[in-house]
Symmetry: C2
Subunit: 321 residues, 2 copies
């Protein structure tokens, strides 16, 4: 039923050669206007669509961007919203998103290597960059086009394009918000030192306090769970804290059981649901910039080397009041 419509069918109907049809679609400027119209009409009539496989065979370009779909331990993350934005942005640029899974960095590299031979994605988008990330170096060595959501942490910068959200600016804004509303003893509930993201978020809180000449002693590290978040909040309030800035919504949720003056990070659905104030990441824009940088590089367009976007502080009131 309905055999595949090829470029030859269009050419026949329009009374031109295959190449002219190809030109109408790829380099319209070299074709006479009248011919162009005739070909486009034929394309429309037959419902012709260029075969991605055949095009890829000839040009070597797949119009595919590969992205790893992350596993979410506690589900309180923002990956899905970002992925949706990425898919949309990719579509606007004529690309499609191809998913893959991986268990760790090495496994991801293996998968990318396999993907590279089979589907030949034009580009890769990595997420969750971290210290000593082996993936960026591997990709850079092979000259594979990629962009990361997450800046290069530590000494592993290979000069690749990246997009990230300014965590420090966010926690600094949150801390200033508390300062402005009269708080003086503001604590921070973070992760164990060593994670780029966590240290960055701590830095913003610390910076805001130091600027006011205040002490930064109300600082606790946790494993990121709600339970430890609550415990940390209990201890910090015990030590005099009246407000808490948190590294994530998960720990903030725990802290919320201790005091209302808490700000989380990521503005996850959980935060919205329970009325937790939080720092929201501009995920759609992050995704759009990722695609822009990647496709820009793919088409030889000059692009910025990176983008650092600001989170937005969302203040919520207790829904029970």
């Amino acid at each position: 039923m309905a055999a595949k419509v090829t470029i030859a069918d269009v050419a026949r109907l329009a009374g031109v050669s295959r190449q002219t049809v190809s030109n109408v679609l790829n380099s319209p400027e070299v074709v006479k206007e009248e011919t162009r119209q005739r070909v486009l009409a034929a394309v429309e009539t037959l419902g012709y669509r260029v075969s991605a496989a055949a095009r890829q065979m000839r040009t070597g370009r797949s119009r595919l961007l590969a992205v790893r779909i992350e596993t979410t331990e506690d589900g309180m993350n923002v990956f899905d919203r970002w992925l949706h934005g990425l898919t949309e942005a990719a579509e606007r640029s004529g690309y499609r998103v191809l998913l893959y899974t991986a268990t760790d960095d090495e496994n991801e590299i293996d998968t990318i290597d396999r993907l590279r031979g089979e589907f030949e994605p034009d580009g890769y988008v990595l997420t969750s960059t971290h210290h000593d990330d082996p993936r960026t170096a591997w990709l850079a060595e092979r000259d594979l086009p990629f962009v990361t959501f997450g800046r290069p942490w530590g000494a592993t910068d290979v000069g690749h394009p990246w997009v990230d959200v300014d965590g420090a600016a966010g926690t600094e804004a949150a801390t200033r918000h508390f300062l402005a509303t009269g708080h003086r003893r503001i604590g921070f509930i973070g992760w164990e030192p060593g994670s780029g993201v966590g240290d960055d978020r701590r830095a913003g809180w610390s910076r805001a306090l130091s600027a006011e000449g205040l002490d930064t002693d109300l600082d606790l590290a946790t494993d990121g769970t709600l339970t430890q978040g609550r415990a940390a909040a209990l201890e910090l309030t015990g030590r005099g804290a009246t407000a808490l800035v948190c590294v994530s919504d998960a720990v903030a949720l725990g802290a919320l059981q201790v005091t209302r003056d808490v700000v989380g990070f990521d503005d996850t659905p959980v935060a919205a649901a329970v009325g937790l104030s939080s720092l929201g990441q501009p995920l759609a824009e992050v995704a759009a910039r990722c695609v822009e940088m990647l496709t820009g590089r793919l088409s030889g367009r000059p692009t910025e080397s990176h983008a650092l976007l600001s989170p937005t502080l969302v203040i919520r009131k207790d829904p029970r009041s």
Copy 2:
């Protein structure tokens, strides 16, 4: 650098013809064992990977499954976990997942039509089936292989394979749980009648009460928001309800502000975080069955026509106690 390794390179190194290499990879049983070993060694040495585009050109099969990535209004859904499971299951069967976005049914049909001409996915996985769903009929008319996560609701059944979770069985189990712990006035907070999923979940609650000869008058419809969930809970408890079965975690979260004896649906991260009891869907298994049915049909293997899986009741205690 590192020009593409083709089947011809492998053939040359192994001292055989292209076709023999192809046979080793696709029909190993026709090749002599000794030759097979030699070819496999050459494949290994050169790091050969079959080109998906070239294979597709010849065979017409892309090894791609297309899936729409949903937008999440309140973010309290399970799509991302299901998608991860789907990607994993697809990989195990030698398929990759290609994403696309759509704004509504018609737009999705357009996109599928475009995709069909360009990337020629071997199959489609639809989610969120509903009454008068135009998508299934459209796909069935064109004989495109697909499976849905969600049964055919209403009269639009075109006899396609589907996988779904037995919502009624879930709410029935939740209701029985409350009955077993002594409750007699158990309410239901649902959605407006008309949605297949919502009506199904209401039916399970109703069935459990009727089996005990109890009245099913404690039944309210909402728009699905936390706010209306809370309002409904207030009214139902006012009318004597001591326990509430809810159509979703979102409304359950609202109800939780009124009473502890609440069960939600979907077991979202929010539920886990706030200690809300809920009905969890076996998403990984749903995803695996979707892939199994679809790839089974694609390879001519006989497959079941559908699968109805049971949710699991997760009872949680108040984390604050």
